[in-house]
């Protein structure tokens, strides 16, 4: 039996009629059209569906939408500033070639956002640890790690460059 709920997504309050077993990922994509949140493994292994709930990185494919009531949800679509200004992480992912097919990118950026909120000045090892639940098959992670470090106003690490 469908139930009426309210969700606070990217600063907007949404009224929704949903089945109680629907996941947050499903509701974001199918009911709210927020398709930047990707579904890939549906088991919490890959991190493609990562969103922020009250500032923490959460796998929305394992999180029931009902449980998100009263919480502040931010998706990749909510990361850009009101005037179209990119978040430093988004800008850094573009400039550091951290994007290839782009399917893992939103989840990767949301995980990195949670990391930088908690730890604005992470080491390379801390970035790698934070991202280890977000799988990427294209990049080998090197450029993603560089992008996160660069967004944290650290100098890009040496190496990885071409000759």
């Amino acid at each position: 039996m469908r139930q009426q709920i309210q969700l606070h997504v990217n600063g907007v309050t949404e009224d929704l009629l949903i089945e109680p077993w629907w996941t947050l990922a499903q509701v974001l994509r199918e009911k709210l059209g927020l398709t930047g949140t990707k579904i890939s493994c549906e088991m919490g292994d890959c991190g493609a569906c990562t969103v922020l709930i009250d500032g923490k990185a959460v796998r929305s494919c394992l999180f029931l939408a009902m449980k998100a009531r009263g919480k502040k949800i931010v998706t990749i679509e909510g990361l850009m500033g009101r005037r179209g200004v990119l978040d430093p992480l988004q800008k850094s992912f573009i400039e550091n070639f951290a994007v290839q097919c782009g399917y893992c990118t939103p989840g990767m950026i949301m995980t990195a956002k949670a990391l930088l909120t908690e730890n604005p000045n992470p080491t390379e090892e801390e970035v790698k640890e934070a991202l280890q639940g977000n799988l990427c098959r294209c990049t080998g992670y090197t450029k993603i790690i560089e992008a996160v470090l660069a967004a944290a106003h650290k100098k890009p690490t040496e190496g990885g460059g071409s000759e």
Binding site: F97, C101, K128, R137, C138
Partner: protein, 790 residues
């Protein structure tokens, strides 16, 4: 050959135009197609739970009662003819017999995926189990009692029919041969003969976007199919499977969430269900379904015998390769033939190759990055190290002594061009500090270094077409039929077009991914887009420029040959101050033009400027008995990788500490995009070396069809920052656009043997089966008890 400094866009790392949409969540993938569309049906497939059985009966009556179910289809409702990529051996839905766990038995369309899933559980199928066959080496035996396809001799083999000759058993469907020189003579003259057996387990693409498709039945009887794969490459097999003319199947795609050689899978079911119901139908595979219906990389057993002189020079090589292609042949015949191209990198005067594809009751396999080369290099690049070790020679030197140079003839009889192989070897050796000892490690930890040479060809025998439209504002639009699967072809093509047309990068618009709009292309396979589509694009740009110059020549009072174009202006080459804006050509008024056509949208004569061209990579004949041909590929990307590893001899865990890649890319159109292909290839290569492999039950069930149990590398398993290095070597190719050639697959190929060689360097143990899991490493340590203490 021109220098990079002569160019405005070539050799520059232009920022990918798709990156903005991908970091903001705006980028649309096929997964997004039809979400929330009223009337959309959801398809689910009932896959066989047994590996080999006769279907006795299927009862769908109870399942049909489920609320919301629209249709349940079985073999009798699907096309009755068999189809396949190279051998027509497969029905869309099984008739009478299932041949692996995951063979499709029934298809359901319902108003919700919940209803479809519920119905799946209520379909009653009675099977009579047959003895199952899982070992390729058993399947190739003449006396093997289990035969999967008794009708094989009558199947239609649409292409490469000579691969069906001289088959050793009733389960063998493919045999590819190379005969060059006389291997027996080579072995007689050799100072050392080395024989080994190598193998690799099945691995799969693990593209993050699950296989998905949506089919829309159109009112004229045609179908519009959305795929998470390639437009034209998907169109052909689906048309053959349904006997649909190509004009009745429009295939569309958007951004693709990873390719790596994956084939269309749920597309055929979406088309079948949409045609039967008359409603749009969407299928999305679960991750588990991606594993067993994903046409994974082929497991190969390689028997390798080498004869060498005491200075390490190869005199003869004999390879016998047995490939477990699963229940159906799919791409395997071509992979088995093309796997032999791995041997291009060495001068081998006497070479004998017999590669066989056999049916088993495992899941069918298909193309994956490397297309057979990686699996063979796994064997040969360890063998080179074994040879050097046995002869007491330096392995880098042994490789260089045998490595091909520009103008050499390789084992297939082709003259090789654009070869930077030795330079790549030297670059990675220098970076890894080859010859210097590793930092010492403590306790149970041991460190070692290893390297390997590798390559990947780009196929001949395919075509790419491009249309270039000149807009009335002087910008251009490129319409191409290859695939933006993340490799960045749209970026590279915009650079090539901008360079040729004298435009800035932002003034080139790219249109792709729709057989209804874009011209034919074989697609992003075989690392071919840069060379093929790049060449077609250059020709199409020149065709468009020719048309522009013809129109402008009268106004500028010179012949078309004296004109050039830059910054949206046509000018006289010898007096550049005399010029005409491209947009001015569109301003002339046709005497009959009225209303909206008049302002600057349509040329007074000819209407539009559409440049068009096709680039064909025509192959030569291949001798079916000797495998020799003058032109069987169009280019090779050669390269090397080196690894430093640390092994915990108590747990068997191997960690890659440092990793370096160097590949000869011809010309780097966009150096950063080349670099990220190398980094991604390194990541995938490390995964294939240490972690990835299907695990089967004794009944043929995949036990690890998910990312928890089948581990692809995470950020923790791949070196980064100063420990990951990618080096571009430029050896311009005479037939490539600006000297460029394909390089997407090669950076996966030498990784696994480089890591195996590093493990040998660390602990003196040779691992010959992929992946080198902790269990296999520990077992090898235990059985050898030859642990070198440092």
């Amino acid at each position: 050959m021109a220098e990079v400094s002569d160019f405005s866009l070539i050799g520059k790392s232009a920022i990918r135009p798709d990156a903005f949409d991908k970091v903001t969540g705006r980028a649309k993938f096929a997964s997004e197609e039809g979400l929330g569309l009223p009337g959309m049906l959801f398809g689910k497939i009932l896959f066989s739970p047994v590996a080999h059985a006769k279907i006795l009966s299927i009862d769908t009556s109870e399942a049909e009662q489920v609320s919301g179910v629209k249709v349940i289809l079985t073999g009798k409702d699907a096309p009755s003819h068999r189809a396949g990529l190279f051998i027509d051996d497969r029905h869309i839905l099984c008739h009478e017999r299932v041949r692996f766990i995951g063979d499709a038995v029934a298809a359901v369309a319902a108003e919700s995926s919940e209803a479809a899933l519920k119905a799946l559980g209520l379909i009653r199928v009675r099977y009579e189990e047959l003895p199952a066959l899982f070992s390729a080496e058993e399947a190739i035996r003449e006396d093997c009692p289990v035969v999967l396809h008794p009708d094989l001799p009558h199947y239609d083999r649409s292409i490469y029919d000579y691969l069906g000759e001289d088959l050793p058993s009733r389960n063998a469907h493919t045999h590819h041969k190379i005969r060059r020189g006389d291997v027996q003579e080579g072995f007689r003259n050799a100072d050392l003969i080395i024989e080994n057996r190598f193998s690799n387990d099945r691995i799969t693409h693990c593209q993050l976007e699950p296989y998905n498709a949506v089919a829309y039945p159109e009112s004229d009887g045609s179908v519009t199919l959305w795929t998470s794969g390639r437009p034209y490459y998907t169109q052909r097999p689906i048309c053959r499977a349904f006997n649909l003319p190509p004009s009745k199947l429009r295939v569309k795609t958007r951004y693709i969430g990873g390719m790596f050689g994956k084939q269309a899978r749920p597309e055929r079911f979406a088309v079948l269900l949409a045609l039967k119901t008359g409603k749009p139908t969407k299928l999305v595979y679960s991750r588990e379904e991606c594993f067993f219906d994903g046409l994974n990389r082929l497991p190969m057993v390689v028997y390798l015998k080498d004869g060498v002189r005491d200075d390490g020079v190869l005199l003869a090589r004999e390879m016998r390769v047995i490939v477990n292609t699963g229940g159906y042949a799919e791409n395997a015949p071509l992979i088995i033939r093309n796997a032999s191209f791995h041997a291009s990198q060495y001068r081998i005067p006497n070479f004998k190759w017999d590669a066989y594809g056999v049916y088993t009751n495992e899941p069918p396999s298909g193309a994956m990055r490397g297309f057979g080369s990686a699996e063979c290099l796994w064997a040969t690049e360890q063998q080179m190290e074994i040879i050097a070790h046995e002869l007491g020679l330096e392995s880098l030197e042994v490789r260089k002594r045998n490595t091909v140079d520009e103008g050499d003839e390789d084992v297939r009889g082709e003259i090789v061009h654009s070869v930077g192989a030795k330079q790549c070897l030297e670059k990675v050796a220098e970076w890894i500090r080859w010859g210097e000892p590793c930092e010492s490690s403590h306790g149970s930890l041991r460190r070692g270094k290893g390297l390997a040479l590798g390559n990947k060809y780009t196929m001949a025998d395919s075509a790419s077409s491009v249309v270039v439209k000149v807009h009335s504002d002087g910008t251009i639009e490129v319409r191409h039929g290859t695939d933006e699967c993340g490799q960045g072809c749209n970026t590279v093509l915009a650079q090539i077009a901008g360079e040729e047309f004298g435009l800035s990068f932002d003034d080139v618009k790219i249109v792709w991914g729709d057989t209804g709009i874009v011209p034919y292309d074989f697609g992003a396979v075989s690392s071919r887009s840069t060379l093929y589509v790049g060449n077609a694009l250059l020709l199409a740009c020149r065709d468009a420029k020719r048309q522009l110059f013809e129109l402008a020549s009268e106004r500028l009072g010179v012949t078309p040959q004296e004109l050039d174009v830059r910054d949206k202006e046509i000018f006289i080459r010898n007096s550049p101050e005399k010029k005409l804006a491209v947009s001015d050509l569109f301003l002339g008024r046709h005497p009959e033009a009225r209303g909206a056509v008049r302002p600057a949208t349509c040329l007074p004569e000819g209407g539009e400027i559409l440049g068009k061209a096709t680039f064909w990579g025509h192959p030569s004949e291949e001798d079916p008995e000797t495998g020799q041909g003058k032109r069987l590929t169009i280019s090779y990307c050669y390269g090397a990788q080196a690894a430093e590893v640390e092994i915990d001899t108590e747990t068997g865990i191997v960690k890659v500490l440092r990793f370096c890649s160097a590949f000869d890319v011809g010309r780097a159109i966009n150096p950063k995009l080349c670099e990220v292909q190398m980094e991604g290839g390194a990541g995938m290569g490390i995964g294939s070396a240490l972690y990835e492999g299907f695990v089967f039950s004794r009944k043929g069930q995949i036990l690890n069809p998910n990312f928890t149990d089948y581990r692809i590398p995470s950020s923790m398993e791949v070196p980064s920052g100063p420990n990951m290095k990618s080096i571009i070597v430029e050896a311009p190719h005479s037939e490539g656009p600006f000297g460029a050639k394909g390089m997407g697959e090669a950076p996966m190929n030498p990784a696994a043997p480089a890591i195996a060689n590093a493990i040998f360097n660390a602990i003196g143990i040779r691992l010959k089966d992929l992946p080198m899991t902790p269990e296999r490493v520990l077992n090898a340590i235990k059985s050898s008890k030859r642990l070198i203490s440092r």
